[in-house]
Amino acid sequence: MTISKPETNVELPTLEKFRNINRTFPHTEHILQQKRDGKKVFGWLCTYVPEEILHAAGILPVRITGYSNEVELDDGNAYLYINNCSFSRSCLQMGLRKEYEFLDGVVGGSTCDGARRLFDLWRHYIGTPFYHVLTVPRKYSEKAHALYLNEVIQFKEHLEEYMGFKVTDKALHQSIKLYNQSRDLLWQLYELRKSPSPPITGTETMEISNASYRMPKEIFNEWLKSLLDDLKHSSREHTGRARLMLVGSVLTNTDFIKAIEDQGGLVVTDELCTSTRYWGDRVKLDGNEPPVNAIARRYLNNYPCARMFPSDERFNRIVDAALKFNVDGVVSQTIRYCVPYAHDLPLLTRRLKEHNIPVLSLDVEYGTSGSGQIQTRVQAFLEMLEAKKK
């Protein structure tokens, strides 16, 4: 298992607060309070939805996710059919079972087949007051940026119409500042993980990432500052049989990472849409340009999902991170029927092999905690990595 110095591996109180957010989601204290205060809560379905626009309108944006554990998806299967990814089916099932009944709006993007169909069925069968779907281009060209900017402006106008007031540039600037602070703090956390013996495990980091899209950023930032302070002054040290990077489909179940770390693999970085691909890049304001332009540019250029073209943009970032975090191997987890990642895998594996970085490819279902077969394969992978190091 991951080796920790027992005498220094003290529990961090703030970490427990993040865990509590994830344990109680979607009925967290902050969401319930927001509703009690008569304010709105919106759900968003994909990292290409510009959250700052919602925040600037006084809305609490939370990411719609599914059950972070293994459950039967009877309703999800009946409505979305068995051959759609278990993430979409799990999210829909939670919606159908009224777990998200507090939502005042749902915002999605045309990002992948699973996401757009989840949006279609949510709109038809669940009935949330506000809906909006953005066309999200798959390219990074100037024309694509212009199209996406137009989409973001239309979304903002639609939201203003629903809310009955204008979202001002001043409010957008404040939201950008707040969200950028989150991103900076999370990168500070990741910097600590570059250490040969980081003070935090991959499992613990995932708790923080998960909480980041489930709670008000104002509070999240304060908690994370406190945690970073604790970590910088702690003597916590974690080492493992191998340093690993986790890539691929959406992942929220921290038990999956724990199953890897229990066997001695130390996850030191990742490329996941619930983590670095969510908060990876800052919004960069350019002179006097309207803030909405900067937001649109950031969201299209952000750490790319496998849906984007060319795929080398994604592959280059993965290779770069793998080298910077000095990983011994990459664990790719692809949810069954998550086609964009399944298509990328053969090409990504070749790119990583060119850098002498081995890849363990795992086909999983969303919410899996790392079953016996996965443990066996991780064990064999770690043995191979250890042999390679000798």
Binding site: L121, R138, L147, Y337, H343
Partner: protein, 420 residues
């Protein structure tokens, strides 16, 4: 490796020639069907001989605007149709699917695209000079190009077609097409013939009009068009957009169907059930589906995602804009837009117009975005008391379902329709 490029295309050609020979003089081989097989022979012969003739092969995925390829006198290779045809005419494609898997492609990647990569990997298809693809109509098409580029060591171009249909988005697509023309001119060394593209667009407009007229005839009771005839319309549309052969074929078919309607003749000897087909049936069961259609008097009268074109006309004076506009009129593109009440009402309306008794949804295990609509369609058709049968299958892989399973489920469905 079992197959070679020539063998795969040649097997399609051999099968087409054999079907024509066996059907010669029979009622089954009508003039339009004869034309259809001659067209297939022409298409695949061009592909087979392209390298020897020094032609430039442009491989492209489904719904990619092949009008542009034809206007530049390049040889098109419709990748999915070639995979389907291999399954249709050879009865199996296990070797190319296995080759796809051995590349590391997961089993849930749909078989036409897994097979496509496999076919290139083992040389079952000729190496293209360029790979062209788009996100029309799903993630599989959007993601299929880069691996082929790497396998074939060829350049490629991806068209990013926006999800919605605002004028802004249509203009974006026109920009994509302009970039495509520049790319093809650069790679092939040939210039775009804009006059030719205008002629092709004019013909494409006529082609769509002819299909609309054919559909009008299919509203007749009894309906004159064979149960799986729509697959021929589909192939003509995919392989010959705006080509003179397509016009000739459709005009001939229209005349044949008109004559049948005048005489009160139907495609089946006694029409009992009028069926709406949703999505594509397995290619390897086409002959069986024709047979059971005759046995039970059940015939597909409309296919909203394959033959039921959206409203609008193409304008030859603005060819590239028309090619962009066409991508929003293609029947299958109903699947690539928000599936809102408007879209669902269109299906219900279609069922009423064509006096449908029941619907059959061919649930291709590899096709996520279509299967995710099953409940939406079932519930929508339920509103007007039309039952829908869902048949799990795979469009090219015969190991997913058998003829026996299909027969059992279809017989039960026909019994249900009979009771109603």
């Amino acid at each position: 490796m079992k197959a070679t490029g020539k063998n795969s295309i040649e097997s399609i050609l051999r099968a087409c020639r054999l079907i024509m020979k066996m059907g010669q003089g029979t009622a089954d081989m009508s003039p339009s069907r004869t034309m259809y097989y001659k067209m297939l022979i022409k298409y695949f012969s061009s592909l087979l001989q392209a390298k020897e003739n020094g032609d430039f092969i442009a491989a492209h995925t489904v719904f990619f605007p092949a009008e542009v390829i034809y206007a530049m006198d390049l040889v098109p290779m419709h990748t999915e149709t070639t995979t389907w045809m291999t399954a249709l005419f050879t009865g199996e494609c296990s070797d190319i699917l296995a080759a796809g898997s051995s590349l590391g492609m997961a089993s849930e990647i749909c078989t036409p695209h897994r097979g496509l990569a496999g076919a290139f990997a083992i040389g079952a298809l000729p190496r293209p000079d360029v790979m062209l693809w788009s996100n029309m109509v799903c993630d599989n098409t959007a993601k299929s190009g880069e691996l082929v580029m790497e396998l074939c060591d060829c350049p490629g171009f991806f068209i990013d077609r926006p999800f919605k249909d605002s004028q802004y988005e249509v203009n974006y697509l026109v920009g994509e097409l302009q970039d495509l023309v520049k790319f093809l001119e650069d790679k092939s060394g040939r210039k775009m013939n804009w006059d030719k593209l205008s002629v092709i667009v004019a013909r494409m407009d006529k082609q769509i009009e002819l299909i609309r007229q054919i559909n009008e005839l299919r509203k007749s009771v009894p309906t004159p068009f064979r149960a799986t005839g729509f697959l021929e319309l589909l192939s003509v549309d995919y392989l010959f957009p705006g080509q003179p052969e397509a016009i000739e074929y459709l005009e001939t078919l229209l005349a044949e169907l008109s004559e049948m309607v005048k005489k009160g003749e139907g495609a089946v000897s006694r029409e009992r059930f009028r069926v709406m087909s949703l999505f594509i049936p397995p290619m390897y069961l086409i002959a069986f589906l024709e047979k059971i259609s005759q046995e039970y008097g059940a015939v597909s009268v409309i296919e909203p995602f394959f033959t039921f074109w959206g409203e609008g006309r193409l304008d030859p004076a603005h060819p590239l804009e028309s090619v962009a506009k066409k991508s929003y009129m293609i029947p299958e593109m109903r699947m690539y837009r928000p599936m809102d009440d408007l879209a669902l009402d269109a299906i219900v309306d279609c069922a009423q117009q064509y006096k449908v008794d029941g619907a059959i949804f061919y649930a291709d295990v590899g096709c996520r975005h279509s299967c995710a609509t099953i409940k939406l369609f079932k519930d929508s058709l339920n509103r007007i008391d039309i039952p829908m049968l869902t048949l799990d299958c795979d469009v090219v892989d015969p190991t997913i379902t058998s003829e026996e399973e299909f027969r059992e489920k279809l017989e039960r469905f026909f019994e249900l329709l009979e009771e109603r």
